[in-house]
Amino acid sequence: MSTGLLYALAGVVLFALGAAGVIVLAHLLRKILAFNVMGSGAFLVLVGLAQRTGVPDPVPQAMVLTGIVVAVAATALALGLARAWHARTGRGTLTEGEDRD
């Protein structure tokens, strides 16, 4: 198995883990963490799969650089919303009754 394919396989597992996390976890900060894990998984698939023959490919690498910046923008926005929500309601979750962290 090539290095690229190995990391691509790790990527799909990370993606599935993160996607399930975003849906299942209640606390907003945890959802945001899960979203980032999910994104990292997709990035690994993008580069790893393209490089499974062992040749570096600058095209998906540039795409992942773009993706990382988009992800940090989305994370900052989500954290801003979560903080504003917490400041307003004192809660860390959107649905009531699951408010433990």
């Binding site: 996607a19 994104g39 393209a50 989305a74 989500a78 979560a82």
Partner: protein, 481 residues
């Protein structure tokens, strides 16, 4: 053909990006006049684009001059041009509306960064309609999603924050699924250009591409709020300020639908047929469930938002009916345009009614008929399109849909279309009936700027009159590469 530096397709993206940036530079609360002038210009550009298209046919604008698969291509054809036209028409009317709406003292705070946010939103829409590159489309989807979330949050209240948060989480998860799909497609074929992909997918279809298509289409359906992914839409569209609700409901959800259509008709054509029945069934469920919730809604904007859930259902009815004669496709695009105009009008009218009564419930509308008759007339006109009565464009869309169902012998969908129309009549007349009741003694009415009423009316009238010009739209749509 125009000279290269005047290419309207390029300026349709550059211009909104430019005024969004300048509006931010100008400072908090500024940028309304700039936006309106620029949007009028964009409308002219879209018309020019349509005229060029009719004259010379579909074409490609190769950004950077490289051409796919190395560079990113913009694709100008009938489908993208129709949606660009719809976007600019609705946007310019809503910009004039928003300027009046945010001039009101109660809403001034919401306008702090409204204009740059709206500019980025519209730039993202135009870029999305033109792009023919799956990864570039991912970036436009994120730009669109974050702009929409930002606009929901401008209201600043607790309900808006919760709605924005939920919307953001759905939007990000959906674009994550889309991105994984793009990664798999690149891994399978070594390109993300839609045009280059077509023959490659037709030649070879490994399991990874099936999964990619599933991930991308499900993600886009979640962004389009197709039942059962609709749960985020009513709170988001129902709690945002009226001009924002109108932008989101009329345009933003259509962008992801457009992309579903592009993929379904393009590279994933051979995969689409297996899931067509499911898409149609979900559309039917959306029509019935959304209309039922609209009938029961207590708050006016919730009612209009649930109506969007129902009307989006019609768009997915076309998938089991897609055939070579293109009737269903025409129906879907007409429905997109008709609903876009009518829903913008309904939210604009709802905003006026809420300003006038100071209340946001359907019950609180008693007596408004005498105070803002023009707005109520606009609400009724837009209602004609939503119900699908002649001569509106909504009628034409549903007629074509029934025609397509008859031709392919799938009678079941016709029942759903008719039931949806009756339910729509139910919730529209519920509002009108309440408005014509006598006002209770203690109720007070606030004056509303006339331009708000006029913009609602113009949009509503356009949605009805478009029915008379449906043939031109269909002809434009027929221009493919």
């Amino acid at each position: 053909m125009t000279e290269a530096w005047l290419d309207p397709a390029a300026w349709l993206i550059v211009l909104p990006l430019l005024w969004a940036g300048l509006a931010f530079l100008a400072g908090p609360g500024r940028g309304a006049r700039l936006a309106i002038v620029a949007l009028a210009l964009q409308l002219a550009l879209a018309l020019k684009l349509a005229a060029d298209l009719t004259a010379t046919g579909a074409r490609v604008h190769a950004v950077g001059g490289w051409g796919a698969p190395l560079g990113i291509d913009l694709m100008i054809d009938g489908l993208s041009t129709v949606l660009l036209l719809l976007t600019q028409v609705v946007a310019v009317a809503l910009a004039v509306y928003a300027q009046g709406y945010f001039a009101d003292a109660h809403h001034r705070r919401e306008a702090t960064w409204f204009w740059p946010l709206a500019g980025f939103l519209l730039a993202a829409m135009n870029a999305l309609f033109l792009s023919a590159d799956l990864f570039n489309l991912y970036v436009t989807l994120e730009l669109l999603g974050l702009a929409a979330v930002g606009l929901v949050a401008v209201g600043g209240g607790t309900a808006q924050l919760a709605a924005a948060m939920r919307y953001l989480l759905v939007s990000l998860t959906a674009s994550g699924a889309y991105l994984l799909g793009v990664a798999l497609v690149y891994g399978a074929y070594g390109t993300v250009s839609i045009a280059t992909l077509g023959p490659l997918v037709a030649a070879q279809l490994p399991l990874a591409v099936w999964l990619a298509a599933g991930l991308m289409l499900v993600g886009l359906m979640a962004k389009t709020a197709l039942f059962p992914f609709h749960f985020w839409l009513p709170p988001a569209h129902g709690s945002a300020p009226a001009p924002v609700s109108a932008l989101l409901s009329a345009l933003v959800v259509k962008a992801s639908f457009y992309l579903v259509l592009r993929l379904w008709l393009g590279p994933f054509a051979s995969l689409g047929s297996t899931a067509a029945g499911l898409a149609g069934a979900l559309g039917a469920a959306a029509i019935l469930w959304g209309s039922w919730q609209a009938l029961r809604a207590q708050r006016l904007k919730q009612l209009v938002a649930w109506s969007t859930v129902a009307q989006l259902g019609y768009l997915f009815l076309i998938f089991p009916l897609l055939t070579a004669d293109g009737l269903a496709l025409q129906a879907g695009v007409l429905q997109t345009v008709a609903h876009g105009l009518a829903k913008a009008a309904l939210f604009a009218a709802a905003g006026v009614l809420m300003l006038a009564t100071g209340r946001d419930t359907v019950e609180g509308l008693a007596g408004v008929a005498g105070r803002v008759p023009l707005t109520l007339f606009a609400f009724g006109l837009a209602g004609i399109t939503i119900m699908g009565l002649p001569p509106s464009a909504g009628f034409l869309a549903k007629w074509l849909l029934i025609d397509a169902a008859l031709e392919s012998g799938q009678w079941g969908w016709i029942l759903v279309i008719i039931a949806g129309g009756l339910l729509a009549a139910g919730y529209i007349f519920r509002v009108l009936r309440q408005a014509f009741l006598l006002a209770p003694e203690e109720s007070r009415f606030h004056p509303v700027p006339r331009r708000l009423e006029w913009m609602a009316f113009v949009l509503a009238a356009a949605s009805v009159l478009l029915g008379l010009r449906g043939a031109e739209l269909v002809a434009l749509l027929g221009i493919t590469p």
